[in-house]
């Protein structure tokens, strides 16, 4: 397990090393690409002043609430649509249409309807989280082996039990994948969400710093984004491993 983490840090560390070298020899303009050390400095300052914690906290709350609403409704609708061909015909085309609507373009409408407060931001995040979970749940359900469905029929499972005890566990690999993907999109949606009347949040911090050409702060923001995103992703990955330990699946060449 330790080996795993060591191997995993090789590339990021290498990247940072090259980056520091590039900065040291000023291959690229500093205003565009501050050195890792500058970024660490900016990071320390932001932490000292408490700005970063505050922004991160706000963003995490927004992301969490939005993600929860979006992914819960994604799973729910995915379940409904996955379990019924009629609902598929009725709802899925519209969902696919909405999936392709760019957030940035509908910001004004959201503000018009929901104002510029938290609701709009959370709607943006939630709608970012919704689609990956929805589509993965839907297709996960549609990949369930029909043989097992038959078993649930002869065992006289009620419809709801069929769904909770057969369809859901069988679709679980895909649902978890959807959750992982949607955590990513939810998190990234913050950037757009926090363009709207925000005065806090990591997304706001980035846009604001960009506005004032504070590239080091922009990079702190980007790195915070990447790291927090990666950490939450890892949680689900671990959950994935635990929930799916009943599977006997391929782990790569020579892995068994």
């Amino acid at each position: 397990m330790n080996k795993k983490y060591i191997v995993g840090s090789i590339l990021p560390l290498l990247l940072i090393a090259i980056w520091q070298l590039v900065s040291y020899f000023e291959v690229l303009p500093v205003q565009m690409l501050p050195s890792p050390i500058d970024i660490v400095e900016a990071f320390v300052n932001l932490v000292k002043s408490g700005t970063l914690q505050e922004n991160l906290y706000t963003s995490l709350i927004r992301a969490a609430v939005g993600f929860f609403i979006g992914s819960a409704s994604g799973i729910l609708l995915g379940l409904i649509v996955g379990n019924s061909r009629f609902m598929e015909f009725l709802v899925d085309p519209s969902v696919q249409l909405f999936r392709m609507i760019p957030h940035l373009a509908i910001l004004p409408l959201l503000i018009l309807w929901f104002g510029f407060g938290e609701p709009s931001k959370i709607i943006i995040v939630a709608s970012g989280a919704f689609f990956p979970v929805y589509i993965n749940t839907f297709l996960g359900i549609r990949s369930v082996d029909y043989k097992l469905i038959e078993v649930s029929k002869v065992l006289e499972f009620s419809r709801s039990k069929q769904i909770t005890k057969v369809v859901l566990p069988a679709a679980m690999p895909n649902i978890l994948l959807g959750i992982r993907m949607s955590m990513g999109t939810a998190w990234l949606s913050l950037i757009v969400a926090e363009l709207m009347g925000a005065t806090t949040g990591v997304g706001y911090m980035i846009s604001n710093a960009r506005e004032f050409s504070q590239t080091d702060v922009v990079f702190v923001g980007i790195i915070i984004f990447a790291c927090v995103g990666k950490i939450t992703d890892s949680f689900v990955h671990i959950l994935e491993k635990r929930l799916l330990r009943w599977r006997d699946s391929y782990q790569g060449v020579n892995a068994k």
């Binding site: 038959e150 078993v151 649930s152 029929k153 002869v154 065992l155 499972f157 039990k161």
Partner: protein, 245 residues
């Protein structure tokens, strides 16, 4: 009284643009508390027929009455064992067996223990299907069907993956249960001896398309003596009809 009556059943599968005629002109009835065995060459349509009787396949022509009503869906009181084991891979052995029951119920727990002992899987309650041998999986699926205490049992080669010893044990257990519970059993098997050992009647099928060749009665008392002359003569009769000597 006939619990099941099958009239003129005909079943086709689409195969590309053609259709494959799998069952034609199937007619028989099954009485309550009878053990009927279905035997016939591989691919003749036994499993297909069983699936129809179980209510899993409604795409056939002809008439089937179960307890006086047409079969519309996998109904109450039926226990089915599929040819493949079809365990839920995410459930342990005991959870598979109790799939639709409340495991915390004391009564269920008691029965669970009995059934697990019956199929000789004590010690493997917490194993996942991927950790079982072929025969063990099959026994789990038997246990799952028995656990429901069904009125009618539809078994598709339930003992195919078992060694002779375990198989005999399971056959005798099945007869025990049959005697205690007075259920109706339809049993697909490849083993003529097994059919003669267990069944009141044997439906012998022929293939391409699947038809009923003959229905043989085995009017012997239980328990049957596999080396008795009567047993052997019935066995040989079945073998002759099957064209296999």
């Amino acid at each position: 009284m006939a619990i099941l009556s099958i009239e003129n059943v005909d079943k086709r599968f689409l195969k590309g643009k053609e259709s494959l005629n799998v069952l034609t002109n199937i007619n028989f009835t099954i009485e309550e508390q009878e053990i009927v065995s279905i035997i016939g060459p591989s691919g003749c349509g036994k499993s297909t027929l069983l699936r129809i009787l179980a209510g899993l396949d409604q795409d056939y022509t002809g008439k089937i009455n179960f307890d006086g009503k047409p079969i519309s869906e996998p109904g109450k009181g039926k226990g089915v064992i599929f040819q493949e084991h079809r365990l839920f891979p995410w459930l342990t052995v005991e959870d598979n067996i109790c799939a639709n029951l409340n495991k915390r119920d004391e009564d269920v727990q008691q029965r669970l223990k009995e059934v697990i002992e019956l199929v000789k899987l004590t010690g493997f309650e917490k194993s996942y299907p991927k950790e079982l041998s072929g025969g063990m999986s099959q026994r789990v699926s038997i246990a799952r069907a028995l656990m429901r205490n069904p009125d009618i049992l539809l078994l598709d080669e339930p003992f195919g993956a078992l060694d002779a010893f375990t198989r005999k044990h399971m056959q005798d257990s099945l007869l025990d249960i049959f005697n205690n519970r007075k259920m109706t059993i339809i049993l697909i098997t490849h083993d003529v001896e097994e059919a003669v050992y267990l069944a009141n009647r044997i439906i012998i099928m022929d293939s391409r398309p699947g038809t009923i060749k003959e229905i043989v009665s085995i009017p012997l008392q239980y328990p049957r003596n596999v080396v008795s002359d009567e047993f052997l003569s019935h066995r040989n009769k079945a073998l002759t009809i099957l064209d296999y000597t």
